[in-house]
């Protein structure tokens, strides 16, 4: 990107243009706090990840990241991120986990909050 296109200039491309105007995908049902991890597989079946796909992949390659954090880090609306994640999931480039809260976890959270 050239220098004048900085953060303050705003997005150069409208968010939904990034995803070809699509608003529906297999990422629709992703919970906001579902954790996304890179599978490490190489793209196959003719799928070419776009720049935003790449940004997500490099983010989740480092550590599991929640859907909401991905949207926040990429500064993209959630709906757009969901479509991008749906693409990546369909091509098995990411896996999505959702650990549920156990009694032990909740006790840990209570103690952690008290210690803040």
């Amino acid at each position: 990107m050239t220098r004048w296109m900085d953060e303050e200039a705003g997005p150069v491309v409208r968010p939904f243009a990034l995803i070809g105007g699509r608003t529906r995908s297999s990422g629709d049902t992703l919970d906001l706090v579902a954790m996304v991890t890179a599978t490490g597989s190489a793209p196959s079946g003719g799928f070419v990840p776009g720049p935003e796909h790449q940004r997500i992949l490099s983010l989740v390659a480092v550590e599991a990241t929640s859907v909401a954090d991905i949207a926040s880090d990429l500064d993209l609306p959630l709906g757009v991120v969901r479509v991008l994640l749906g693409d990546l999931k369909d091509h098995k480039l990411i896996s999505i986990g959702r650990a549920s809260a156990s009694e032990r976890i909740l006790k840990e959270v209570i103690n952690g909050l008290r210690a803040l």
Binding site: P15, F16, T23, D31, L32, V33, A34, M35, E63, A64, S66, A68, D69, A71, S72, D75, L76, P77, L78, G79, V80, G97, R98, A99, S100, A101, S102, E103, R104, I105, L106, K107, E108, V109, I110, G112, L113, R114, L116
Partner: protein
Amino acid sequence: MDFGPSDEPVALKILIAGGFGVGKTTLVGSISEIRPLRTEEVLSDRGIGIDDVEGVENKTTTTVAMDFGRITIREGLVVYLFGTPGQERFWFMWDELSYGALGAVVLADTRRLTDCFPSIDYFEQRGTPFIVAVNCFDGAEQYEAEEVRVALDLDPEVPVLLCDVRRRTSAKTVLVTLVEHSLRVLTASQP
């Protein structure tokens, strides 16, 4: 709910609900690292029928900024706070927000107590554990928590507490009260 492997990252979701201007954003900011989050949703325009053509959907998108905060308890254990949108036209977002939520804080202002009725109804119907936190605004008449409970016709097991969401210690107490309540609900539901 099951015990996962301890190295599996766990993310928990807490909702902050209540009427417009009741202090949801302030609460999220007092206790957590605020993060920017936008959601762009497609709404079908069900407005006045005069322009509607059968079979043609008249759609429009809207961008909504959400209150979103993160509290890292430890590596691999994060609590996320989401402010629920205050305006009625964003009700469609509530279902997805509340799905799998650990619980909800319903913030109340005693000068406009009825503002929190929709939130209370919603969480009661969904069976989401919730507490009512009365934000004590300067200049508002002070009430006891029990008076608020009666006025809101709450079940006896729903915790009600007074708070000042501008203060971190108070915001902390609110969240601890909620998670303790969620823990009670969780253990009560287990055989």
